[in-house]
């Protein structure tokens, strides 16, 4: 069996596939996310069997040319090529192919954790239900985009319902901070324990959403100083994030894969969507001169067609000084080999409802017919949702999204991080993605695949051609999600009821003792010299 597919002897048989992985909110370290995701995909590939034979995978990690003295971890390469390559000999299809994994890493653009960040975060978290709607950008380049129109946010009542739910999140956050937060604080200070700092994790995770809506990145201290990255000075921090995405897209295009894919999770889906929809005119602003010249040399950028005029006004990011006025990215060339996009646990619909200006849809055609956009959601995952605002008027400008339900996990919030977790037996999303990468068909990502998959009834209009599926699982899991929310509120309220009165009475008692001590010592201090100076007092 092996002789037929000798890698070196028959290299022309290798198909080259690229995968751009985008992480979501969190504190991921460099390559942490891609490492975790690739593991699941590799497990799924190795489980593919045919006629008793299993598929084989060899993983190669490109190491850096240098490493820090006495560093604890080795360095991975971060050049123009993907840091991870998997050579696959697939048993069911007999194919031999290379899968190259790129990572879009932007976690470092988060603000450093500090008291100042916490104060700003909680101020924002308390009023999130009241923040005005973010409409279409007025920057140059935005003229070739349009805002999504969320069906769930068209009338005042619908928008009020969305805001009411956001307000509910604020309430739960306050309860959580007053119960779990204080509990953690006391456990640390009184008992010298080291429990997980839930508040820190929560702040750092959700602050990614806040960051995406900020005008500038801030550091620590009061008042917090500007902490924009040098290359993005004066630009919103989301520009820094998009820069990473767009450069990764360009990398994948320049690698000349036979086909390539984007897999994004959580807030990373917003990052990926922004990157895919960014207008051709604004692309130069995301590159350095050398990188842009490389795109031009490879035919992915250059002068615009006759008759096209650059939009007026200031672009965001600003046009580089070195950029030719009529130079644009040839997005149709960049995305020519882009075969599919897979979103997991995406908050895109929530953005489309509240801040449509943050997730504009391109109106410039760039995608080929057959470019697939899949959105995987689980009702128990509070971040995810059915995509209904992105009804496509032109599939070349924005592929039509297909939303598919997937039972990720029964546990609240845990379901958000277990989409790509592989388990033996087949039928997982990891199996489906592995099959998509190998065969190019998404036949194993769909509601008919297995017991974990289902179709949302509210997505039926947007469900694509394969919508005839029982969606009772959607309702069951939606009910389960509401039960989780209700349970969380009750537990947190009870926990607050136990913790806060004790802390309040302890604080009261401590304060009284402190006041008495201070008062007594002051009286003694004042009286002592007078007593000493009294006639007859001994010195």
């Amino acid at each position: 069996m092996a002789g037929e597919y000798l890698i070196d002897a028959n290299p022309e048989r290798r198909e080259r596939v690229g995968l751009v992985v985008v992480h979501g909110i969190g504190e991921q370290r460099r390559f942490e996310h891609v490492d975790a995701q690739v593991r699941e995909i590799i497990r799924a590939i190795r489980a593919r069997e045919a006629a008793g034979g299993l598929s084989e995978v060899t993983v190669e990690v490109y190491k850096g040319q240098s490493a820090s003295f006495q560093s604890e971890q080795d360095t991975w390469a971060t050049g123009d090529e993907a840091p991870i390559k998997a050579v696959v000999r697939d048993a069911p299809t007999g194919k031999l192919l290379e899968i190259h994994f790129h990572e879009v890493w932007w976690a470092d653009s988060n603000e450093p954790y500090s008291l100042s960040k916490q104060v700003r975060f909680w101020a924002w978290g308390l009023i999130i239900g009241f923040i005005p709607m973010k409409r279409h950008s007025t920057h140059a380049g935005a003229a070739s985009t349009r805002d999504p129109r969320a069906p769930g946010g068209r009338t005042k009542q619908q928008r009020l319902w969305v805001r009411a739910r956001l307000f509910g999140v604020s309430v739960v956050a306050v309860l959580g901070a007053a119960s779990i937060g204080l509990f953690t604080f006391l456990a640390k200070r009184l008992f010298n324990l080291d429990p997980p700092d839930f508040v820190k994790v929560f702040v750092n995770y959700v602050a990614g959403v806040k960051l995406y809506n900020q005008k500038q990145r801030r550091g620590s201290g009061f008042p917090a100083q500007n902490a924009d990255f040098l290359e993005d000075l004066g630009e919103p921090p989301r520009i820094t994030v998009r820069r990473r995405m767009i450069r990764a897209l360009a990398q994948a295009a320049c690698a000349d894969y036979d086909r390539w894919y984007v897999v994004a999770h959580s807030l990373g889906t917003v990052v990926a969507f922004n990157g895919l929809m960014e207008s051709a005119y604004t692309w130069p602003g995301y590159f350095d001169e050398q990188g842009w010249n490389k795109l031009v040399a490879n035919g992915f950028a250059g002068g615009a067609r006759e008759g096209w005029e650059p939009p007026e006004g200031i672009a965001s990011p600003r046009r580089p000084v070195w950029a030719e006025p009529r130079h644009i990215a040839y997005r149709s060339a960049v995305f020519y080999k882009l075969h599919g996009v897979l979103f997991m646990g995406s908050p895109l619909e929530k953005f489309a409802t509240l801040w449509p200006g943050r997730v504009p849809i391109a109106t410039e055609p760039a995608f080929r017919t057959g470019t697939t956009w899949l959105n995987i959601y689980d009702p128990i995952d509070p971040v995810s949702g059915v995509l209904r605002a992105f009804d496509t008027r032109c599939e070349h400008a924005c592929p039509q999204p297909e939303t598919i339900g997937y039972a990720s996990d029964w546990k609240f919030f845990i379901s958000h991080i277990r989409y790509l977790t592989w388990t033996p037996g087949g039928g997982t999303l990891a199996d489906g993605l592995a099959d998509w990468l190998i065969t190019g068909t998404r036949r194993k990502i769909g509601p008919e695949v297995g017991c974990r998959w289902f179709r949302s009834p509210i997505a039926s209009k947007f469900a694509g051609p394969r919508a005839k599926v029982n969606s009772s699982r959607h309702y069951i899991r939606t009910c389960a999600a509401w039960c989780w929310w209700l349970g969380a509120i009750i537990v947190l309220a009870l926990l607050s009821g136990i913790t806060l009165p004790r802390i309040a009475s302890a604080l009261k008692a401590t304060t009284l003792v402190l006041i008495k001590d201070v008062a007594a010592s002051t009286v003694v201090d004042r009286l002592t010299p007078a007593v000493r100076e009294m006639p007859g007092s001994s010195r």
Partner: protein, 78 residues
């Protein structure tokens, strides 16, 4: 056991108090913020009606600025 039975109503009362506080704090903060600081989007001072704005942004360019766009080629695998 008696102490526990006596404690449960107190706990429930405390919990309801804190639940009310957790509702009131973001509500008051939100109303104050919306009234004084967030009456309009600070990045966008346009004060057009939503319907006008929607009409404004539904234009379609749909013409590529590229000299030789390649998007018309179709994928033959699905």
């Amino acid at each position: 056991m008696t102490a526990l039975v006596q404690y449960v109503p107190v706990l429930v009362l405390h919990s309801i108090e804190f639940l009310s506080a957790a509702v009131l704090i973001p509500l008051v903060a939100g109303i104050i913020a919306r009234t004084f600081f967030l009456s309009v989007d600070q990045d966008d001072e346009r004060r057009v009606e939503l319907s006008d704005w929607e009409a404004e942004v539904t234009h379609l360019s749909l013409i590529s600025p590229e000299p030789n766009p390649k998007h018309s080629y179709s994928w033959n695998i699905h």
